[in-house]
């Protein structure tokens, strides 16, 4: 479990970039932090992985303050994916990159090699490939795999899909989704609200170093006040739903609740057929009332 107790943080000791933040992330949660550039999201990630210590308050990992843990101890619990994979790839081959997390802490050996082999097979990597010659999406996957291979309890992802095309984004996020399904806590910063809507179960909206909202993904992303304060745009289907739901005739119908393509397409089709049936009934009623022709 991750706990923030009245945490404030600053890079220069003066200007606070995080102000009195308190929140709890239970084991197995999938949380997305959303907000504008400079809202304090990445700072929050750095506090979780211990790269940054709070100037006041406490960040606790499983009840232990990060200030009482060595960086290596935090790293065993928390895997961190940088926005730019090139900041963490440092080995000459894919295989060595995946092994590095083990050997760096003196845990190399047959067990580690078996884990790496399994990871190479799962991701379909070329074990002998030179990482920096891989394309951006594959480098991002490699950086993610080198974290997953150590089976951390918590994975922190800073903008995991930036610069990736649709297929690469889907590959990375499916791997993250599998990791969460296997029990890992996932905490990510993500500007792509479609990715947030597809994967995160909870959204924490931030602005100017404070939390403005925290709750189930679509509850948060449907609150106009939250969207305004954190300068967020909801996923497009949710936005369509909110526009339609503002019409008194459609408020309370399934279109006003739909957040996915499937839900919205089904809701619109159902309302369309209902409207068609009503029109048919009206025509039939008009037909029954129409004056009979002839003498």
């Amino acid at each position: 479990m991750i706990e923030f107790r009245n945490v404030s943080a600053s890079y220069d000791g003066e200007l606070p970039v995080l102000r009195d933040v308190s929140l709890t992330i239970p084991d197995g949660d999938f949380v997305a932090f959303a907000g504008t550039n400079g809202a304090g999201k990445s700072t929050t990630m750095r506090l979780i992985n211990g790269l940054l210590k709070p100037t006041s308050g406490e960040v606790l990992l499983d009840g232990v303050p990060t200030t009482a843990l060595r960086t290596s101890e935090v790293a065993r619990k928390v895997g961190f994916l940088f926005q730019n994979p090139d900041r963490q790839i440092c080995q000459p081959t894919v295989r060595e990159e995946l092994l590095f997390g083990f050997t760096a802490v003196g845990e190399g050996g047959p067990d580690a090699e078996a884990c790496v082999d399994a990871m190479i097979e799962a991701f379909g990597f070329d074990a002998d490939a030179e990482p920096f010659l891989l394309n951006r999406g594959t480098r991002q996957l490699l950086a993610l795999a080198s974290i997953i291979v150590r089976e951390p309890d918590v994975v922190v992802l800073d903008e995991p899909t930036t610069g990736l095309d649709y297929r690469e984004c889907a590959k990375v996020m499916e791997a993250v989704g599998r990791l969460n399904a296997a029990g890992a806590t996932v905490v990510m910063v993500c500007h792509d609200m479609e990715v947030v809507g597809d994967y995160a179960r909870r959204v924490i909206a931030m602005t100017a170093g404070t939390v403005v909202d925290d709750g189930p993904t679509f509850k948060v992303l449907r609150r106009p006040e939250t969207l305004r304060r954190a300068h967020l745009l909801p996923p497009q289907v949710t936005e369509v739903s909110m526009l339609l739901g503002a019409d008194p005739a459609l408020a309370g119908t399934a279109v006003a609740r739909a957040d996915t393509l499937d839900e919205m397409a089904a809701a619109v089709a159902a309302l369309a057929s209902e409207a068609a049936r009503a029109a048919a009934r009206e025509r039939a009623a008009l037909g029954a009332c129409a004056p009979m022709g002839g003498e």
């Binding site: 907000g35 649709y166 369509v240 397409a265 369309a272």
Partner: protein, 279 residues
């Protein structure tokens, strides 16, 4: 006008052409969005416009690319850069100064802009990008998003007739990304500037571009008004391009025979289509 005629290009160290048989005409003042999967040749297409190929990256150049009548192979990079302003994908590689003001001044001075025009151009560009307050800030102290705005301001100050931007919003949050696209579209309309943007955020392109170009395996697979191109959502998905969700929603209604109107470019058009179906 920008014209690609049977254009193909193979980088000297490459085994195969990265762009093949591209024939495309971009009218003056058009806002063009280029998208496609990673490695599809999007950036190479723009390098042919600003002259980076073949002047900086040599290779086998087939066919012809002309910008306002200038053949980009025959014209010097200096002359081309007076017409075409470029914002790189890697912003840090573009920055040459340590202070925001100096960064914008660098281009103006090098282009020999008359001294009495410099201040107005500098102030206008910073104002337009909403970064007037950053004028005296050290570039090192800026966020990635702020640097992107400085890079765009530095180029806009030069008032190029063609503006080429490679993923200009990669580091920006959604609200800032939308704001940059709004600014670019307004600027292009007001100045008659042709804008070519390479971008993965297809929802932004769908909403702002006059022409959408989909590249796959170095070939242009689709080029046209966003509403026409986005009708092909299933084929686009095959090419690794995911339509905006609002487009996908309306395309589903079209496929099921409920809606006969055009593909939706944005949320407002999708909501209007849904209302029409329900009514």
């Amino acid at each position: 006008m920008i014209e690609f005629r049977d254009f193909s290009f193979r980088y000297r160290e490459g085994d195969a052409p990265v762009v093949r048989d591209v024939t495309l005409t971009i009218p003056d003042g058009c806002f063009v969005g280029i998208t496609g999967a990673a490695g599809s040749g999007k950036s190479t297409l723009t390098y042919a416009v600003n002259g980076i190929i073949p002047h900086c990256y040599p290779g086998d150049f087939y066919g012809a690319v002309t910008v306002e009548g200038m053949d980009t192979v025959e014209t010097s990079l200096t002359d081309l850069s007076r017409a075409v302003g470029s914002v790189c994908q890697d912003i840090d590689s573009q920055m040459v100064s340590s202070i925001v003001e100096d960064e914008v001044l660098y281009g103006l001075e090098n282009f020999g802009v008359p001294r009495d025009e410099v201040e107005a151009r500098l102030a206008d560009a910073l104002e337009l990008m909403g970064i007037a307050d950053l004028r005296h800030r050290a570039i090192d102290s800026l966020s990635g998003g702020q640097k992107q705005k400085v890079a765009v301001a530095s180029i806009i100050a030069l008032r190029p007739r063609v503006l080429v931007l490679d993923e200009p919003t990669a580091e920006l949050d959604p609200a800032s990304s939308a704001a940059v696209f709004d600014l670019l579209a307004t600027y292009a309309r007001e100045h008659g500037t042709t804008v070519i943007v390479v971008e993965q955020k297809i929802a932004l392109l769908a909403e702002h571009a006059d022409m959408l170009v989909i590249v796959d395996g170095g070939r242009v697979r689709f080029a046209g008004a966003p509403g026409e191109v986005l009708e092909h959502s299933a084929e686009l998905l095959e090419l690794g391009v995911n339509c905006p969700r609002s487009t996908s929603l309306v395309n589903r209604l079209r496929a099921s025979g409920l809606y006969a109107g055009p593909a939706a470019r944005d949320v407002a058009e999708a909501a209007a289509a849904c209302r029409e179906v329900i009514a």
